[in-house]
Each structure stands twice: as C-alpha cells, then as structure tokens.
C-alpha cells in the first residue's frame, strides 16, 4: 500500500477519525438543535418548517392571559438560580477539594497513586445511583436522622431533603473529583522548597499559602472551577431528585420543553443559551491561561 508522501495529507488522514467523531457526535447534534431553535413548533412534538425567532423572544417576552405582550422574568429567574447554584457547587468543591488535593501531593508516590485511584472510584458507578444514595442519607428516615432520633437528640425531622441545600450537596458530591484532580496536577509540580523559602523569609503559614501555594496552583484551580461549573449549570439529576422539583433549573426546563410542553424550538433556544454560558466560561479560562503564558514569558 502506498502511503501519501505529503506530510499535510498524512496529518489530515491521521486526524480524520477524530474529526469525524467530533463532527458526527458533537457538532452535528448541536447544529440540529440550533436549526430547530429557529423553526416553528409542531403541537404534536417536533418542528414545522419556517423561520422564526419566536423561541428566543419567549425567553424575555411572553403573551400573558390577557393577550398582551409583557416582559416576563420567569426564565431569567430560572437561569439566575441555575448559575447561582452552580457557583455554590464550585465554591463547595473548592473548599473540600483543595485540602484533599494538597494532602495527596504530600504523600509518598505509592500512597499518592492509591489515593488518586480512590478519588476516581465514584465514577465507576452511575451518577443516578449515587444520587439516589443521597436520598437514603438525607431523607426523613435516612442514615443521618434515624440514629439521632433513636438517641433522642432530635424529635422532629430535620427536613434536609427537597431543599436547595440538598441540591448543592448533591452537586458538590457529584463533581468533587473534577476539582481534586486538576488541583492535584498543578500542586504535584509545586516545588516545596519555595514554601520553605517563604517560611525562611518570615512568612506566616497563611502568607505562604496565599502568596506561594495558591498562585502556583492557580491553573489547576481555574481548570477545576470550569470543570465543576459547566456540568453543574445544566445539571438535571441532582436538582430533580434532591430538590423536589419545586424550583426549576435549566436542565429540567429544557427537559420539560422536549417532553410534556412539546415546544422543541424553545427547548433548543434554552439549550443554545446554556451553551453560550459554557462557551463564555471556557473563553474566560482560555484568556486567563494565555495571560499567564505571557506573564511567565
């Protein structure tokens, strides 16, 4: 068999499978959704041909039951709540994830590998199953309340389930490994002699942490924040199972449009909006990464 001699052609052929996979499984579905979001909705589900920006208009303005077009903040509230909860999840993951990552880097190589392996173990089970486990932990007759009740410490239920706190707990739990791993990766390269040097120069523990460790771990922290934020903002399982569904989140809102509301274009429009948020987050990361590169020369 004759291999093409031109290196450009060879590179193209070598990358072709990857391009095809990305094209077919990522770009194409998104393009379909984008096209659908500009079409008319079919009352039986699906879309009808015709171009309209109706779906995007609906995000901000809607006809009320007196047939007047009015500004409608419903969807902005849902979007705001989703972003807020995602930020809480990021913050929670950072608080719990950083010490864990730091602890791991301070161990012997062999122990490090073992601990990293343990961090990834939850990924071996389905997310749905793991979230159901939290129902058993948080619910009225669950693992936390039952012993407290039988010891007589509490009498009434703590009502932990079906609250925003439960959703945040579920999100932090689900995505914690995504925070630990990148922070570990950047802390692992950290030269601890720098920390010792800081102490030699009379830096307190906090100063050494703030001015030496954090700046050097920054790429990992940013990557971790992005990795947690992106799936959290569109999360569907935790808000649905642990939040009691009383407050809609973006993921549930999109699901509702494709299922019972049979408004595919609007579902597509919200999905596009969600995609825009994610892109903004990623671009921001890209920019700060480039800035760091320039700073470090």
């Amino acid at each position: 068999m004759n291999l093409p001699q031109n290196p450009a052609t060879r590179r193209f052929l070598g990358l072709l499978p990857a391009w095809l996979v990305i094209g077919i499984f990522m770009v194409m579905p998104m393009m379909i959704l984008l096209v659908f979001s500009f079409m008319e909705s079919d009352p039986y589900g699906g879309v009808d041909p015709g171009f309209t920006i109706e779906a995007y208009r609906q995000i901000l303005f809607d006809l009320n039951f007196d047939d007047e077009l009015e500004f409608d903040p419903v969807y902005l509230i849902i979007i705001g709540r989703s972003i807020l909860l995602a930020l809480i999840a990021v913050f929670g993951c950072l608080i719990f994830g950083f010490p864990v990552a730091y602890y791991i880097t301070r161990q012997e190589r062999r122990v490090q590998n073992m601990l990293l392996y343990l961090v990834t173990i939850p990924f071996w089970t389905n997310l749905l199953v793991r979230t159901y486990a939290w129902i058993l932990i948080l619910s009225g007759d669950g693992v936390i309340e039952q012993p407290l009740k039988s010891l007589g410490i509490i009498e009434n239920s703590l009502e932990m389930m079906y609250t925003n706190g439960a959703v945040a707990t579920g999100l932090v739990y689900s995505y914690l490994p995504l925070m630990v791993l990148p922070i570990y990766a950047s802390l692992e390269k950290l030269d601890f002699r720098l920390v010792e040097a800081a102490h030699d120069l009379y830096a307190s523990r906090f100063q050494a942490f703030k001015q030496v460790i954090v700046p050097l771990a920054k790429p990992g922290i940013i990557a971790g924040c992005i990795l947690v934020f992106v799936p959290s903002v569109g999360a569907f399982i935790a808000p649905d199972l642990l939040g009691g569904g009383k407050k809609l989140m973006l993921g549930s809102l999109i699901h509702l449009q494709f299922a019972s509301s049979r408004n595919w274009p609007f579902g597509g429009a919200i999905a596009m909006l969600l995609l825009a948020f994610v892109m903004i987050a990623l671009l921001w990361q890209l920019r700060s990464a480039r800035k760091r590169m320039e700073e470090s020369g």
Binding site: D66, S252, S260, S261
Partner: protein, 345 residues
C-alpha cells in the same frame, strides 16, 4: 436481554415480511413493551392457526411517527386514546367495524362508543387505567371524596403533599375540580388554573412523577398524586396497607389503550379476528394478569388473579366520572406550559 432478543428477532421477521416473503396467516403486532403476554399469542395461534409476530415501542410519539411515515408492515398497534384521536383525524387507520364483532357485547357500556371513536369503527379495548390522589389514612385523616382535599389541602397535609412533575394529568384533574372543559382555550379558565396551582404550591413538598409509591409508603408525604397501577403496588407492598386511592366525586383522569389497524395493513381479516379474540373475557383477563392494569370487560373478573380482581384501585365505582385526556390545541398546550413554568420558576 430476552426482551432485546425478542425485539431483534421480531424486527428481523418484519423486514422479511416487508421484503415480500410474506406468509399468509401471519400477524404483525406492534405494542408497548411489557404489555403482551406470550400465552395470549400462543392461544390465538392454537385457535386460529395465525402466527403473531411482536414488535415493541415505548411511547405514543414513536408509534405516531412510524405510522405517519407510512409503510410500516404492521397489522395491529395499541395507541392511547388521545393519540388514537389524532390517528383518526390524520387518516392513519383502517376501518375495523368493531361494533359488529360477536364479542363486542362483553364491553362495559361505559366504554362503548368512546369519544375518541364514537361509532367504534376503528378500535377495540386493550387496557386502561386512572389517575387520582392517595392518602395515607393512618397519618392523615383526609377527605377522599373531593378534589378540594388535594387542591386546597388543610391541616396535616400542608407541606406533606406530593404532586406529579409533568402537568398533563394534574391539569385534567384541575379541569374536573373547577368544572372546566378539557382543552379549554378561555383566558379566564387559564387564570383560574394558575390561581389554583399557585394556591396549592405552599402545601407541596415535592413535585415528582417518579418514586411516588415509595414516598407514600415511607411517609415522606401523607397525600400524593398517583396512578392506580402504582398505588395498587404501593398498597400491596409491606407497610402499605393504609394507602387509600381516592375516587373524588368530581372524577378521575383516565387513559385507555386500544387495538387499531394501521392503514396499509396486509392482513386486515386476521387483525379483526385478533381484536374479537381479545374482547373475550378469559383472553382479556390474560392481558390484565400480565400487565396488572384494568380492562373494559367486566366479565373478565372471574379469570383475574384474586388480588387484581379485588383491588379497589382498578375498579372505578359507578357514578364517578372518568375524564380521558384528549389531544388539545396549540393554544392550550402553550398556556399549560406557561402556567406550569411560572409555578415552578
């Protein structure tokens, strides 16, 4: 795995059928998953010599899309009442003249000539069920006889109420309670619905359509939306004896699946034979025993498993109206979506 195998084999068989190697005296049956007992098909083959090939789907939308695309090769399918209405309107069904079949006499008078097939031209009954609300009678002394209890709860039920997450059925219950027409397009009706649901929300602990039997049995909620089949399972579960499925005087919401013959079916006579065969009480009982749903053939009761035959969840008392969901217009669907999104914002 077995189901997958059956599906694969039957679709292979179907593609043979489509390619012209079609044997006379075979019937291609397209039904929901876990809905067709094997012994029913064997019995039919023994009695008539007609072999039934089964293929399955999991939603009315899938079935409608298949029939709309034409040339399916199916001789029988089982849509729910609201989709049956659409199929009739779109001319996707063959006439079967069910009313003149010998076993039609067994059908409960309440379900003869239903609104979705007023002259019983296209469809014969398969299985049915209802949606209402349940009360844990040991935890809450609620009033089962009116939807007021569910929509305007008082006392211990406040904060302990579970409601379905998807609006269709709850919305129909609300129409019953407010005395509105199904598929109403009146703005004042929409406003009244919105007020009703906003008023109910403070009492709601959880909006979810999954796991309702578990939550009522473990006491997470004391009152809840519920499907009759689910609630039958909840009551017969350990610790569930006090789960009471309510039949409020305003009525319950119903679904009704029927056998129909898609347009272009090759073996219409055999399909009609099957329809008539299923309406016979002992055969209908086979289906109910397998699927654990109710049916529209009262004489099937002696052939049912005892726990099914005695289940109050499966028997709608006489005098309680059953409102079957309809396929509504675009204005209605949009309004319901708006009410629901606002509610959960």
């Amino acid at each position: 795995m077995k189901k997958l195998l059956i599906a694969a084999v039957s679709s292979a068989v179907l593609s043979f059928a489509a390619s012209g190697a079609y044997a006379a005296g075979e019937l291609n049956f397209y039904n929901w998953t876990d809905y067709t007992p094997d012994d029913l098909l064997e019995k039919f083959q023994k009695e008539t010599g007609i072999k039934v090939n089964l293929d399955t789907y999991d939603s009315n939308e899938t079935l409608l899309a298949k029939l709309k695309s034409g040339a399916t090769g199916y001789d029988l399918a089982v849509p729910s009442q609201n989709f049956l209405e659409i199929m009739v309107k779109e001319g996707l069904l063959e006439e079967a003249n069910v009313a003149s079949m010998p076993n039609y006499k067994y059908v409960d008078a309440r379900f003869k000539n239903p609104t979705w097939d007023p002259e019983q031209k296209y469809s014969s009954p398969w299985q049915m069920g209802t949606t209402s609300f349940v009360i844990r009678t040991d935890l809450y002394d609620g009033d089962c006889s009116s939807l007021k209890e569910f929509f305007e709860p008082t006392g211990k039920a406040v904060g302990q109420l579970g409601v379905f997450k998807t609006p269709e059925e709850v919305m129909n219950q609300a129409h019953l309670y407010l005395g509105q027409e199904m598929c109403t397009e009146k703005n004042e009706d929409f406003k009244a619905l919105q007020k009703l649901f906003e008023g109910q929300k403070p009492a709601v602990k959880i909006y979810s359509s999954e796991g309702t039997p578990d939550r009522i049995v473990d006491g997470t909620v004391v009152m809840s939306s519920g499907w009759n089949g689910d609630m039958f399972n909840a009551r017969t579960k350990e610790g569930g004896t006090t789960v009471k499925y309510c039949y409020p005087k305003e009525g319950v919401v119903g679904w009704f699946d029927s056998l129909v013959i898609p347009k272009g079916a090759k073996n219409i006579e055999a399909a009609k034979k099957f329809m008539d065969f299923v309406m016979k009480p002992e055969n209908m009982a086979l289906v109910s025993n397998f699927a654990s749903y109710a049916n529209a053939i009262p004489d099937s009761a002696p052939f049912l498993n005892p726990e099914l035959a005695d289940a109050p969840e499966l028997k709608v008392p006489n005098g309680i109206p059953i409102a079957f969901g309809q396929s509504c217009g675009e204005k209605y669907i949009k309004a319901v979506d708006k009410i629901w999104t606002k509610l959960l914002q």
